[in-house]
Symmetry: C2
């Protein structure tokens, strides 16, 4: 039996077995992750827990069977458009998925991360391209996954890992078995891989999460109410994990005369250098930081640094700069690129012309993973409503009075957004809906009962939700639960 | 107010108004369609009815509100991964959709067809590229749609038509407002447009339905049970609408020694020439037919014809050929291309080696809109199960004991399939699920009640289905209905 043929319960058991294996191996995995990524123990412990919980969540999603989206339309001789056949539809796994792991979440977006968990839950074998930032951790994690696959009696090709980049590109470009690809990483690489997927002899869907600059707007009301709290929480959100998070706030819009320059500068100045994930990121970050600092109209709130530390690894301390809205618009070509590290840009706007702010935000951020609004309790002026309307068209997640870093893994979560945040804005890479990326519907028409797949049978041996449209009602389009 | 801001009930009213307008104009629309396409009155009357019913179906889908997929996850201070914010997710329209109309369904896949209906239902303005095969019908239909839009008090840009091909390509390539495109037509044009959509500065999803060759397999049991019925129904399915249907059976697999050559030949020979839709199709069909007839190993069952008739329009009478499985595999490069017209290929297979048939079918048809199995009652041998398993991986719709032409418009319908049948195998262009193509999720995090969009509010003013995940249960991933 291969993975495609497993029942939801069997697939759930596999996912839970992988979760168990990772949990038990925490004492080996965490030190390896610390050594290879420079991330802190507390952060990695939390991330491993999240990864384990995520695997169990997809096990539950799988067992529940809702993802199959079973629809049964009974035959109807009196249908308004003429006799209608018996139609039974459900979601099939698309086939083997090529997953490109990210460097910044060595557990949650890597070997046994969300893409792997959701693909396996959908019934798709996974070939994982390990990130060179943590090769030994990737190998050990893969070993645990493979052991769980073997114990479940599934073939070895259910899960495989490649470390070589050229080999992965060849798979993406040439391997006819690969049915979809998922990627978390930079705009540049993501766009390149997306083009390869689209240019194949048989193109495949490419689910790329390409990063984001995540604007945060503070209203005059919020500033009046809690300026200092906002400043320190902003610095914490920018500098956590050395800013190497795709939801790091890249721009903080503050009313002119905010008076927070000193608070922001000293809060950021108090954060020590933190190791960057790998030298590729360090080099790119140093270049971005230099370009931002050299941009006309930019003033420095906290200079920060990026330099090679005693261990030979590059360390970065937060850099905060400030610019007026006009200069941001003028120098957008330089300033708008994502700086993957602890750098953020404070933007002054005229509180008497919030219309200019709304227009600029709409123009500057065509697609982002998140946007955030900080407002005072009860504030809901027309311009604020306008801002919300503009932002919601441009993001996957719109936050109020919080910070975008830290993505809750829940059914409603949407971690995605219009291009350039992702290459597939209708999908998410976090939360239960992530499974949808790896499914494809098929309908069986007038299929004899003995040839029907289990979820489409009237006796419903897998006990999955079945939505029925009964015969007899000529305008019966509804999907009523059985 | 623009379309995006309308409530489901308002959008449903618009769709019903368009349906009413088309219904009332049948006496003007049908004769125009007959004159421009050469399709028969009965076929066009049925198609207009289907188009009207389809608009009403999407009105109902819209009013029901299930398509919004509202998920409300309550805040949870005791969540297993740490305090969880209030998350409220729903589907937004993606934005303006560029629809390329098809020539072969001047109502159902044209100006007010399924793509337009599903995009409007999703809340997306539509720019429709009219097909040059029926320009006057397109203009008149567009006039009816625009009148309904105006009566509903919606802005003119809710629905627009372009007739010029270069203008449409410019919109697809350069217009930053276009958020998605839908297309029904040839592989060649579809692949070209898909590349333009993927190569934009900001790529957009391209939903292309590129046609299909639709294999049909007749088992030895079915042949023994009802050979003559199968033969005549096959010819009717191949020759209906002069074979200009994307679900026309392109290949009929019959056991060696089927003895149906004469029956097939005379049934096809009795079908008179039928006008082809336009000269582009006539030229392409004539070339394909000539190539098939010249292929080694191909014998003629019914020669048929394609020639210019007295009215100056090209007429085609059905062409049936036969080939052995080995020759089909050998000459696949010539034989497998879609012949858009009344041509089909009978393929002999060895009934003692059904494994070879299953392997060949798997190899020859990587993606098709449909596949069909005709079997005798009770037949469910291992090879037949194997065939079903292979076919379901390669199609959007798998039929038993029927013919693929004639697509029922129902909730469970899946009109799609792996590439090259479509460019987006997870989607359908017929049936209620077609609306999904034009939606994108967004989640509101900790949004104050007064800024929440209507479908996310606790008082649920639009009365749409809301799925809630309550707080308090640490492993609570489910989407329970409210």
């Amino acid at each position: 039996m291969d993975l495609t043929e497993t029942s939801p319960a069997e697939r759930a058991a596999l996912l839970n077995a992988i979760a168990d294996a990772l949990s038990s191996a925490a004492d080996d995995l965490i030190p390896l992750a610390m050594a290879e990524t420079g991330l802190a123990e507390a952060r990695l412990t939390g991330e491993l827990k999240r990864t384990v919980v995520q695997l169990r969540m997809f096990a539950d999603v799988c067992a529940e069977g809702e993802f199959l989206d079973v629809r049964l339309d009974a035959a109807d001789p009196d249908f308004v458009l003429g006799p209608r056949p018996d139609l039974r539809r459900f979601n099939l796994p698309v086939g083997p998925v090529l997953v490109f792991a990210a460097s910044n979440f060595p557990f949650a977006f890597s070997v046994a991360g969300g893409d792997t968990a959701s693909a396996l839950a959908a019934g798709c074998p996974v070939i994982l391209k390990a990130h060179p930032g943590h090769p030994r951790l990737s190998a050990l994690t893969a070993e645990k996954v493979r052991a769980a696959v073997a114990t479940a009696g599934l073939p070895a090709e259910t899960f495989d890992v490649v470390h070589d980049q050229d080999a992965a590109v060849r798979l993406l470009r040439d391997d006819d078995r690969i049915a979809a690809a998922a990627f978390t990483g930079s705009y540049k690489v993501g766009r390149l891989l997306a083009a390869i997927a689209a240019g194949r002899e048989r193109p495949i869907p490419f689910y790329g999460e390409l990063g984001s600059v995540n604007p945060v707007v503070v209203t005059p009301g919020a500033l009046a109410e809690r300026a200092d709290t906002l400043a320190t929480a902003f610095v914490a959100s920018v500098s956590g994990s050395a800013g190497q998070l795709c939801t790091k706030p890249g721009f903080l819009f503050l009313p002119d005369g905010h008076g927070l320059a000193d608070t922001l500068g000293s809060a950021a100045g108090a954060v020590p250098g933190h190791p960057l994930l790998h030298e590729g990121i360090a080099a790119a970050y140093a270049a971005r930081r230099a370009a931002v600092l050299a941009t006309p109209g930019v003033s420095v709130l906290a200079e920060g640094s990026v330099e090679v530390g005693p261990s030979g690894r590059s360390l970065a301390a937060p850099t905060l700069v400030e610019v007026g809205l006009g200069d941001l618009l003028k120098h957008r070509a330089t300033l708008l690129d994502e700086a993957f590290g602890p750098l953020s840009v404070v933007v002054r706007y005229d509180p008497d012309r919030p219309d200019l702010l709304v227009a600029a935000v709409g123009e500057l951020f065509p697609g982002a993973l998140t946007a955030t609004v900080h407002r005072a309790a009860g504030e809901s002026d027309a311009w604020l409503r306008g801002l919300v309307a503009v932002l919601r068209e441009r993001v996957g997640r719109l936050l109020f009075d919080g910070w975008p870093t830290g993505v809750a893994v829940t059914p409603a979560m949407q971690h995605g957004g219009p291009f350039p945040a992702t290459t597939a804005p209708a999908t998410t890479s976090v939360g239960t809906a992530a499974i949808q990326r790896f499914l494809r519907p098929v309908v069986f028409q007038d299929c004899p009962p003995e040839l029907l797949p289990a979820p489409l049978r009237d006796d419903n041996p897998w006990r999955v939700p079945q939505r029925r449209a009964a015969a007899g009602a000529s305008q019966n389009w509804g999907h009523r639960s059985a």
